[in-house]
Symmetry: D2
Subunit: 386 residues, 4 copies
């Protein structure tokens, strides 16, 4: 059994999720490889030191360069704000470290492609954090598609709906500012849908999108922590510079039709990351708010008892589930990260690229940018043209 | 093709449902036999004449004796208040008329047995109005049980929940008065569950129950129409003399365990008439609020895609559905009555007893009384002892 | 109380639904006006005469001209194949008859506009058969939108999914031939979604669509009845000339974003006619397979108990429901037609245009054609340009 | 901030869940007190040493007496087989250790009462492992009941359904042998329902039950691990000596009616631990298979939008949830244990008894035994008489 030393940059929402995943992997998936939580990095010394203590890291640094160049570090985990990904990843790759980078890989496609190229040239392993692939119910969907049990794929429709900024007095947090966040619902939520589409159906040929910013001005925030923020009635207003919602249609390489919708303006949807696939032999439906379930339909069922089956993907036949609890005992959001680091560690131990890797990150960025271009130019855009 | 002349006593809620069923049968199920809406009977001449006009009856009378003795009448349909069932049914049977009687057959088991005996001696056909059997989804459940596709039956659990009298100021309508209604939730709602249990699982050996009247006094009603009524704050109070809720457990002849619950004190349940059956090879679940659906589970499904299937029982393979609309087009409550009269007319045309008939009405009454006795005596009561 | 004589052209699926609606209206909604089922018209004398007998029409003719010119006819109901709508409607309007025409009004927008113009000039009432508006749950959605209880509308997403032609050996019925059917999923299913969008959200400004015919050749049918057909392995193949699926995105006049999907290639979906609306104060969700339910969310609910409410629209507060059964007793597909003819008869009795009328039919056709044009030209098309 | 040293006896299913809870508490709930994973105890030296390593315990012992008497241990966590609970707990209490004991507290009511008495006399804190109380959705149900938002409680109905032994060739594991397991579905599953009833509705006055062993003989197991086991066709048969299913009815002290059903013979139910409460002002429904959700109904909602709300209990207003992930991100089964140890540690730090404690364990045992007695004697049994 091998072990690898991890150095991680970032300790907020994603940093917490990753830290927990390393801990849980040691306990529930100890077979192949063990991640050692060596070094945590953050700019604020008080924040990073207390996070390191709370999350169980051996030590901490305040400059990511110290982490990237540290001789004992095998893997660099990057979940700092998106605009910092590229520089850290490239430095780490050049230092021979394996990479685990949160999505989006970078703020632009060009940057993402450069990151992929550098990582490939450096010969390191590289992974991108599309965690939803690792829900056992999603893995089941993948198995059904790949084994042909759904037949030829005709439709992929997906929507990622939230409602946390519906209130127009919610303040102008960094996620609503283009210069920091890159984009709004499109890059934050749509990116996950695009990756699931790639995972489950394959590449797209062309896309056309539309988007809207429903609330165009918001009060400047007086205080911010993670996703939440406090505002004030008297605060000055600032312009929202990202999309509140982006929709697009796509044609897949295999002929399937895709429809995608990402919105933060869908009251009642806390985190509806949902998709449906229709094939010639059956269909599947998934909703992250019921993460342990996959709805499955087969045209070959006896005609008097056809119907979508609610499969609870908590049994031993389902991916990763034999490591957890007895059948019927559900898992939650954070488990997708545990499975993700299992893939990362196993791939490194087996000397192969983990999946999804930077190539998948680039593919996602291509679609994001093609959609943006299609919106600007009000026309269909071929993926191969971006 | 034969036709039969119907004379019907009663024209309120059930009278409307039956009238509509006769009309719809003519249109959707014209193959075997045709019901002619000959004579409607009610005591109030204004009420019955306008109902006859509205519902499409050829004529009306105000004395049921005139209807029962009418030489052109083939079938007497009795949906007058329960305390009138026995006298009318016996007179009609002795006059050689076929009988279609709403549930409950009578107010007591002894009366129900007498009605069955007279009908049998008269050699007439007799049917009892357990309409829920005729939902296509319930028919599917029956088919799955009878064909052995669910294996040996272990459990039957059923509950009929409503909430129309939760408000303690709701007035003391006749359904809350024992001398008129016989019983409360038990006879009104529980009777349907018992009949479904008989239909789907078979006879019971013994039962034990409990019941409660949560609101013991209510304002006397100032006006009443059908199920609804108006009250007044200043109205005098009267004692509620029936049960608000009755529960019981049962052991079936085939070894299955039964659990039954009827209540009018379940907020949020408008009309939840629901059951579940668990067998060695599978399970089914039904809820009348989603009348077109049956949830079906098979242990023989591939282990990675096991789950309850939501079967929409609107396809041609499902009972009665080829006469209605294309697949996926749902039916409603009233259709159960159409199917019921199809059974009645077909049975008469084919010179056989319809099902469910007075025998089933008696079997239901036996269980109702056994449960009542078990509550009074606080002990298990054998069905064969009542 | 007034009564009107109806003459109806067509007696298949829609003719049956309309006939039943006239009968049921007499029984359940007798207050305002009464439809008299005077004359049925069909080309095949055997077919039309037996349908007239079965459905309860007073008489029949085999030439629609005899019906249109009949002096006793007040209303002409047109549910013959779509390519016959225009000629009959125009002749009837010129003869001073009120019009009730099934959707689509005509095969082209130009024809639809002409029909509207002629009807207006003739001063007759005109209605178009968008029956889904008349589900009480949809009426509730309308009430919530119109009263402002959902706030400003941000999103309308809708999909009408079926699966009856997924099997590639299903024969080439007339609905798959452009010259007869006009279009495929787009005009058949999408048209309903468009009308619901107009009803609930308002007019659209611009659209862009995509479509596909997944199975391009099918065996010629050997026999056809209604929607079903029989094929044969040895039958010669013919080209499918309509779309199997059409998707489009739309921008509404009020700024809302729309996404629409109509497909006959969605296994497991018998008749999923579903939509969701997101507004600044709440959301609603509807699915025709659960026609009695509306999911409703309000942002103003106490924050610890926010969630979509499953409203069973069977209570007296809901449109049309006080005429049917007690609360909790569901209705089905055909009831939407009963409510539709109630609107028709009431409007005529009150001397106002019924809603939806030919104007709504034209508006729907505009969007259908704009989408078609956007597909051909691969660009956004303004509704005002078609 | 305080810290406490834990010594734990047992390292299988429950031992893993507890270990994980201690680790996660450190990371997600570090405010009040910190559990130190000091000493793990198991009889098999290989098993316990490798578990200690995998789960992160500082050390291990093979004799629980060494653990109980260890001077550095503050808390003794007992999740060894049920027949060992009493001896260990009493010894630990006498050594002044705080106690955390899995359910059932003991095999008999007498033993449970003795354990409570000893713990009280020793003045130590004592907790019993009814983890389902700690699902945030269950906590919400509790809040709604206690604050009066559901009004007077009329009904509590609950069922815990599984299907892992439906196959009659499934071997005779220890859980099916009375001498080791004490009882079957009743003690294993029913116990959880009883505790939830106590938590949510209060004490019961009297009960009557029924039970059955559907498969009376099974092949002796050839190998066993945790809940799973391997059998063999040629294995000799042995008698199943526990119940496969137990049902009972109850009358609560507050007048509510209870109905309970525990079964391992319900195909399709992997782990349906579900309950519903009906009160005069509203209702709630819970199902552990959708652990993050509570269905909530209020009679005070506007009459046109009444319906069960699907509340996703993942928002900050919900118990424990501000420590986890952003709203809409679900948790799983294991989180109930984390919250459980948070209560344990906080209570010890605050020098109060944790809830649920041994008193609750005794109350549960009383009902279990009263039900058993009612089955044997075929009569209602008062809780105060056992």
């Amino acid at each position: 059994m091998k072990s690898f030393n991890v150095g991680m940059v970032g300790y907020k929402f994603m940093g917490k999720a990753h830290s927990h995943a390393y801990k849980d992997m040691r306990m529930f998936f100890p077979q192949t490889a063990v991640p050692k939580m060596k070094l945590l990095c953050g700019r604020d010394v008080n924040g990073v030191s207390s996070a390191a203590e709370q999350f169980g890291w051996d030590g901490y640094v305040t400059d990511w360069r110290d982490l990237v160049s540290h001789p004992e570090i095998d893997i660099v985990d990057i979940n700092a704000p998106s605009d910092a990904h590229k520089e850290i990843a490239i430095a780490a790759a050049k230092a021979g470290k394996h990479l685990f980078c949160e999505k989006p890989l970078a703020l632009t496609l060009a940057d993402a492609r450069e990151m992929l190229q550098v990582a490939e040239e450096a010969g390191v392993k590289h992974m991108v954090g599309f965690n939803y692939r690792f829900a056992p119910a999603v893995q089941l969907a993948k198995k059904l598609v790949e084994s042909g049990r759904l037949g030829d794929i005709y439709h992929f429709r997906a929507w990622f709906l939230q409602d946390w900024i519906v209130d127009p007095t919610f303040p102008l947090v960094w996620r609503l500012q283009k210069e920091i966040a890159g984009s709004g619902a499109h890059g934050d939520l749509g990116a996950h849908l695009i990756d699931l589409a790639h995972f489950l159906v394959g590449e797209m040929k062309e896309v056309i999108g539309m988007s809207e910013t429903f609330v165009k001005e918001r009060p400047m925030p007086t205080e911010m922590t993670g996703l939440s923020a406090k505002g004030s009635k008297d605060a000055p207003m600032g312009a929202v510079t990202v999309d509140d919602a982006t929709l697009f249609m796509a044609r897949f390489a295999n002929g399937a039709l895709g429809s995608f919708e990402a919105s933060r303006f869908a009251p009642g949807h806390r985190c509806t990351n949902a998709f449906e696939i229709n094939g010639s032999k059956g269909s599947v439906k998934f909703d992250f708010e019921r993460l342990n379930e996959l709805q499955v339909f087969f045209t070959s069922d006896d005609e008097d008892v056809q119907g979508f089956r609610r499969v609870l993907a908590t049994d031993p036949p389902h991916a990763y589930m034999d490591a957890w609890w007895p059948t019927g005992h559900t898992i939650g959001y954070e488990h997708t990260f545990v499975h993700e680091v299992v893939e990362l560690m196993t791939a490194i131990a087996e000397d192969r690229q983990p999946v999804p890797n930077f190539y998948d990150g680039v593919k996602c960025q291509e679609v994001l940018e093609a959609v943006d271009q299609s919106i600007t130019e009000r026309r269909w855009v071929s993926i191969s043209d971006v």
